[in-house]
Amino acid sequence: VTRVDELRARLQGRAPFFASAVDRAEASFGEEWSAGFEETLTRLFPDDDQLAAAAEGYARFAMDLMRRQSRFERERVYPAKSYAEAAAEVYLDADFMAAQYLPGLLIAHYLWAHHYRHLVFFERAFLGAMAGATTFAEVGVGTGLYSRLTLQARPAITGRGYDISPASKAFADAHVAAFGAEDRFETILQDIVADPIPPAPWLICVEVLEHLEDPPAFLAALRAALLPGGHAFITAALNAANVDHIYLYEGPDQVAAQLHQAGFETRESFLANAYAPAAPDTPVPAVAAFVVS
């Protein structure tokens, strides 16, 4: 029995309507998906109790989002919430982060088609261009997934991950250590707008912008954190009513315009929707990704 099979069985027992997501992703993405997800589950949740807890976290994470998305479809706005309120409710709630948010988000990167397609795009368009790179930084390290993939793909590279959440730092540290790369990676609790970071030649910033009250101010800080001639991988969630999304992007052009305003030049971009809309005017969660310099 593989860990993917075990996760499917756990979901079947707890929230059976989510178990088919494993089958769909497996059928859509094939062996590469299976190998990547299997390795992730094996390294991060090696015993059955850990995997059961992760499955529980995913079920709660996904159902919470679906309820919020249903409300968003009617109201077309995110509930008014400040960054400080989102931070207190989510990022600084250690139990919620560890039990639900972080395992849920990590598993969603493999079970939700738009998230997995972004991993594939990241590996091709960004990691593929990093030959010879010696250092990188990730801002908003979250689960540590993108940093870990970078450390795995580039065995000589070293990196730093920045986040404001102690729970994210702990999860990302454990994630990287589970892949034996802890000697090449350091996580730091730091708000890069209030406290600028040393510039890096390769920057990763995945789904941070929609969590902010003032994305342009953040992008200005991110631009200053990129060395001249460097490259960045920057994404934003669109029309996705997660508990901590406070800035609504309705289309990729809004993100592209803010990137341009901050001084970034788009090299390549990618957009993926979570699913087909139930009606033509129904907003659908999506992620827009940009490779910029």
Binding site: A15, P16, F17, S20, R60, M63, M66, R67, S70
Partner: protein, 85 residues
């Protein structure tokens, strides 16, 4: 509402959402036996139940109402209707 009336209303909601004849809804009706009962349909069922019975399921209940008998039991408990068994 009586327990029987709750059963009939739940049966109607499940039949409507899952595309079943009401006579097909029985104690075995669940995501294990009805392929159409996926996550989106589950949310539709939950929201329909909340509207019909003017209740709000908590997070645990939202995940736990995964069969006809479990839904009837949960709604009945919320409405203070005693379990006859």
């Amino acid at each position: 509402l009586s327990r029987e009336e709750i059963e009939e209303l739940v049966r109607t909601i499940l039949a409507d959402v899952l595309g079943l004849d009401p006579s097909e809804v029985d104690d075995t009706t669940s995501p294990d036996t009805v392929k159409a009962w996926d996550s989106l349909q589950h949310l539709t069922i939950v929201l329909s139940l909340e509207e019909e019975f003017e209740i709000q399921f908590d997070e645990e209940e939202t995940l736990a109402v995964v069969s006809f008998p479990l839904i009837v039991a949960t709604v009945s408990e919320r409405l203070g209707i005693p379990d006859p068994r």
